[in-house]
């Protein structure tokens, strides 16, 4: 009887789809990072063409991993409301480019790093922090991913490296720029940075 019961549960588990259930946040982040590591260690991608293939793959993973909209809103903070709809959209797009250039592309230079997933801490009802450590020959670097749940999915909205929050770091920069410049002025600076001016 007991056996049958478990059998039934097993069958139910197998056939009932859980599309809305994103899984614990740690598993989600872990999944993305493992995918990135797989791409990085993919020995079939070599040379210059392999490099750009890797970049493209990492970018498509980051697309699913990050909530760029949330990232942008949090980075601008109060200033978000000074941007009109179009400016907000453009900002999000440009900011995404900057982050990808800065971090996604940098990743492909890593080869022998190991990532430890330490624990997850609840920050609020919808947000939590996944603590990881990158082990390199030279140092252990603590990297924390802050994730938010939206429509059943957990997505990263901030990365904290050695205590330095990406969102806070850019927020301070943008705030200083916006103290003397208009939203368009800031967008102009970002366009130049991304090479679209």
């Amino acid at each position: 009887m007991k056996k049958q019961f478990f059998g039934l549960i097993l069958v139910l588990l197998l056939i009932v789809p859980f599309p809305a259930y994103a899984g614990p946040p740690l598993d989600t982040v872990k999944g993305h990072i493992n995918k990135v590591l797989d791409v990085l260690s993919d020995s079939s991608l070599k040379g210059e063409s392999g490099k750009s293939a890797k970049k493209a793959k990492i970018r498509s993973i980051s697309e699913k991993m990050f909530d760029y909209n949330e990232l942008s809103r949090r980075t601008l903070g109060q200033n978000w409301n000074k941007f009109n709809n179009e400016q907000q959209k453009e900002f999000t797009e440009l900011y995404k480019c900057i982050l990808e250039d800065a971090y996604a592309d940098k990743l492909i230079t890593y080869t022998d790093e190991k990532v430890l997933f330490n624990k997850e801490t609840i920050l609020s009802e919808k947000t939590c922090e996944i603590q990881t450590t990158i082990i390199t020959k030279k140092a252990d670097i603590p990297i924390h991913y802050r994730v938010i749940q939206k429509e059943g999915e957990w997505r990263v909205y901030d990365i904290v490296i050695e205590g330095v929050s990406l969102v806070n770091n850019y927020r301070t920069q943008f705030r200083e720029i916006l103290a003397s410049k208009s939203p368009d002025g800031l967008l102009d600076i970002l366009r130049k940075k991304v090479g679209r001016a």
């Binding site: 949090r74 903070g77 109060q78 230079t109 050695e162 330095v164 301070t172 705030r175 720029i177």
Partner: protein, 298 residues
């Protein structure tokens, strides 16, 4: 090469940290951060979440422009938006970055440019040449050696912060790595016994006592610091055995070598920070403050 000033200010710093400072930018993400932290945090964004709550602008006049201006006809819409924003902001309230006063902006920015050039024109080429000659494993050994020799700084500061377990770990690490680790070249304590490194310095001790940064200060060659951390640096200098080597020239030369060795292991870190930043000066300042806060909190 490091110059007299470097010697003076580098006196008490823990080596690893010093190097990091030395290599100025090298810092950032994994490095620079050894320092910064601010206790005088000005929670700017979260200070004006509600329309009626005028930003308390005691220390941020310039920021007061951020308080939303409400036009009667759009008031409702704005209120809704603000409500959303408020939610966001309370949510991340505790992660709001600390800020630091920067009254000596001109001085700081001047040395920031100097340090940038110093890194790209002198420190980086020298370190690159050095790393070309010596394999990484040897350079990591040297770096471990310098870390080991500055144990007094971490030991004393752990005690000053009543972190007896950390102090004990420092002693253990010193004994183990000086013997089994062959004079500190290997980090046996960490590799085999999992006794982790933990940086402590006088600036952090002050921070743990509740002393704020005061203000941001950039020093030539040493890089980002603050009033509090500068005082700490000088104090720590007395605990750094290298500073007791005579003649003074030898002491300076060793410190310079330490810096080059450290930089050789971290080429690219500073470049990454600069490239990722929209305003590198502010990015580094903010990173310094955030990182120091983390160090003090730990």
């Amino acid at each position: 090469m490091a110059g007299h000033k470097a010697f003076l200010w580098g006196k008490g710093e823990e080596l690893t940290m010093k190097l990091r400072k030395f290599s100025i930018g090298v810092v950032v993400i994994s490095v620079l951060f050894l320092f910064g932290c601010a206790h005088n945090s000005v929670r700017q964004d979260s200070q004006a979440p509600v329309v009626t709550a005028a930003v308390s602008d005691q220390n941020q006049e310039t920021k007061s422009t951020q308080a939303p201006q409400i036009q009667p006809d759009t008031a409702k819409e704005t209120e809704i938006k603000l409500a959303e924003d408020k939610e966001d902001i309370t949510e991340e309230g505790e992660e709001e970055a600390p800020q630091i006063a920067d009254p000596f902006y001109i001085w700081n920015k001047g040395w920031y440019y100097f340090n940038d050039k110093f890194y790209f024109w002198l420190l980086k080429p020298v370190s690159k040449g050095y790393s070309f000659i010596f394999p990484e494993i040897a350079r990591i050994g040297v770096s471990n050696f310098f870390y080991n020799i500055t144990t007094p700084i971490r030991f004393v500061n752990s005690i000053l912060q009543f972190k007896m377990k950390d102090a004990g770990n420092e002693l253990l690490r010193l004994v183990i790595n000086s013997t089994v680790g062959v004079g500190g070249l290997g980090d046996f304590a960490k590799g085999q016994l999992d006794i982790k490194r933990k940086n402590e310095d006088l600036g952090q001790t002050f921070g743990a006592y509740g002393v704020g940064h005061g203000f941001y200060l950039v020093w030539p060659i040493l890089g980002p610091s603050s009033l509090r951390d500068t005082v700490g640096l000088v104090g720590d200098g007395f605990l750094n055995p290298i500073n007791y080597i005579r003649p003074v020239e030898t002491s300076i030369a060793i410190t310079a070598y330490d810096t080059v060795n450290y930089t050789s292991l971290h080429i690219g870190d500073y470049e990454d920070i600069i490239e990722a930043a929209v305003d590198p000066y502010i990015s580094i300042r903010d990173a310094y403050v955030q990182n120091r806060k983390k160090k003090v909190d730990e």
